[in-house]
């Protein structure tokens, strides 16, 4: 029964056009970056210079993997939170706005079950969107750049050079870890959508919370407080490119994100449970 209901939620979610905005804009954004990098004079020259100044043969590392990886950073910072919170903010608030929530709840399904189903559907969307980000980036880059080694920046100020096989492994791992960021931000927007508010308000509140954290995290004098900001843990996917892989840090952030996700789901669930649904 759970799977049947989940299928119905997924059907509803993927039946909306707005669900595909993220996929579409990722593709457009990545294609624009790839075309600029391929045909623009400046960007490729800059990377060439950087690699060759360090003795590496640029043509071995200006590859589809490298291009897909450097595109990932700005998109994962800005666009990914936008699209997952758009969908997360819609999941319940849109039903309330459209007036379909009362009709759904008049069926023999508990509020908590409905809420959980929607959260699972939203999480699956966020997971697929994060993986699609990587695959579409790689596909766009593969149109103009050959397959080969990976040249990736790993904070702070260190870059990593990897052969194609290892590079692909780390690229995939980065996206798997990135999907946790997507699920968390979706969960945050979903929590707001459980309150009595419009979908757009839920989306904006979630984004405001994420960006406020990002601003605080990036103030140099606040570096001691970094572990207290959500975005510090959301950025754990970047750790994948650090040598040696700091598993302990990844596991720490992962543990705290479990706490954050539980909080978002429980607060949202409680608000939805005690809420008086009138329309």
């Amino acid at each position: 029964m759970f799977l049947l209901q989940l299928r119905s939620e997924l059907w509803k979610l993927f039946g909306k056009k707005r669900t595909y905005i993220g996929f579409l804009f990722f593709l457009l954004g990545q294609m624009a970056i790839v075309l600029l990098f391929r045909f623009g004079a400046g960007p490729a020259r800059g990377m060439n210079r950087m690699l060759e100044a360090n003795g590496y043969v640029a043509r071995d590392f200006i590859t589809s993997l490298t291009v897909a990886t450097f595109m990932l950073f700005p998109i994962a910072y800005l666009l990914l939170p936008l699209y997952v919170s758009l969908v997360g903010g819609d999941l319940l608030a849109k039903e309330a706005e459209d007036g379909t929530l009362r009709m759904i709840l008049s069926r023999p399904v508990s509020r908590i079950r409905l809420l959980f189903l929607k959260w699972v559907a939203g999480s699956l969307f966020a997971f697929v969107l994060a993986l699609a980000l990587g695959l579409s980036g790689l596909a766009c880059a593969a149109l103009f750049f050959p397959w080969g080694g990976l040249f990736a920046f790993a904070p702070p100020q260190v870059f990593r050079i990897l052969d194609a096989a290892s590079g692909w492994k780390y690229f995939l791992l980065a996206h798997l870890v990135l999907s946790l960021k997507a699920v968390t931000i979706m969960g945050l927007a979903f929590m707001f959508s459980c309150f009595n508010m419009k979908p757009a308000a839920a989306t904006i509140l979630a984004l405001s919370y994420v960006f406020a954290n990002m601003i605080l995290q990036n103030i140099p004098f606040f570096s001691d407080y970094a572990p207290w900001f959500l975005t510090t843990h959301l950025d754990l996917w970047q750790m994948v490119f650090v040598e040696p892989l700091p598993w302990w840090k990844i596991c720490q952030s992962f543990s705290l994100l479990i706490g954050f996700n539980t909080t978002f789901l429980v607060i949202g669930g409680l608000a939805f449970y005690v809420r008086d649904i009138k329309s």
Binding site: G55, Q157, V158, F159, W248, G259, Y273
Partner: protein, 210 residues
């Protein structure tokens, strides 16, 4: 508050407490598995290498290198400069020394050597100089009372003729000539060089600053 709402709030509080309990337990556990220089030193001190025999010695060497490699870059270099394994080294046979040196060879040594070989002389000179200065800086900080460096690798003052040899002939010929402890010392230099070549600082041609 309606009674069933009160129950819902209590259940939510309980779930939150359990959720954060699990989260903090995971956080603490992950922190505990963190590799630190203290843990590394403690491991080296805990093993009486001279008393081990056969495969146990090889396993101990393997674990030593694994622990060293798991340290963050900064601590790894510090641990390497400190070389707390000198006591072990004194009782290793040639085969074990060679195994130890082989394990410590930087990943992608061939790629590093090739990349270094592609660089112009001036850039190679800067990289060698910066790597030596940085190691010397770590060494001096760890041994503030030590006598001034006299020119051996052990004090991280690489002789000028060796520096010149590396600049003109590249890394590989010298590396292949070395054995035992000298190779282990040189591998630390290679690790530092690799680190330097992986930063944008040197790309901009900046000299080393203490």
């Amino acid at each position: 508050m309606i009674p069933h709402h009160r129950k819902a709030v209590a259940t939510a509080a309980l779930i939150l407490a359990v959720g954060w309990g699990v989260a903090f337990a995971g956080y603490a556990l992950a922190g505990w598995t963190n590799h630190t220089l203290e843990k590394f030193d403690a491991y080296v001190q805990s093993v009486d290498f001279a008393r081990l025999s056969g495969d146990a010695r090889i396993r101990a060497i393997d674990k030593l290198v694994r622990e060293l490699r798991a340290l963050p870059a900064e601590e790894r270099r510090q641990g390497w400069v400190e070389s707390p394994w000198s006591r072990w080294f004194a009782t290793m046979n040639d085969q074990e020394k060679s195994h130890f040196a082989q394990l410590l060879a930087p990943d992608g040594l061939d790629r590093l050597a090739a990349a270094f070989g592609q660089l112009p002389d001036e850039r190679r000179r800067l990289l060698v100089r910066n790597s030596v200065l940085r190691l010397n800086d770590i060494h001096t900080k760890l041994n503030p009372d030590a006598a001034p460096a006299t020119g051996g690798l052990e004090s991280w003052q690489m002789p000028a003729d060796l520096q010149q040899k590396l600049i003109t002939d590249g890394i590989k010929p010298h590396y292949e000539e070395l054995t035992g402890e000298a190779r282990v010392d040189f591998e630390l230099f290679l690790e530092e060089l690799q680190q330097m070549m992986g930063t944008t600082e040197v790309l901009r041609g900046r000299p080393f600053r203490q």
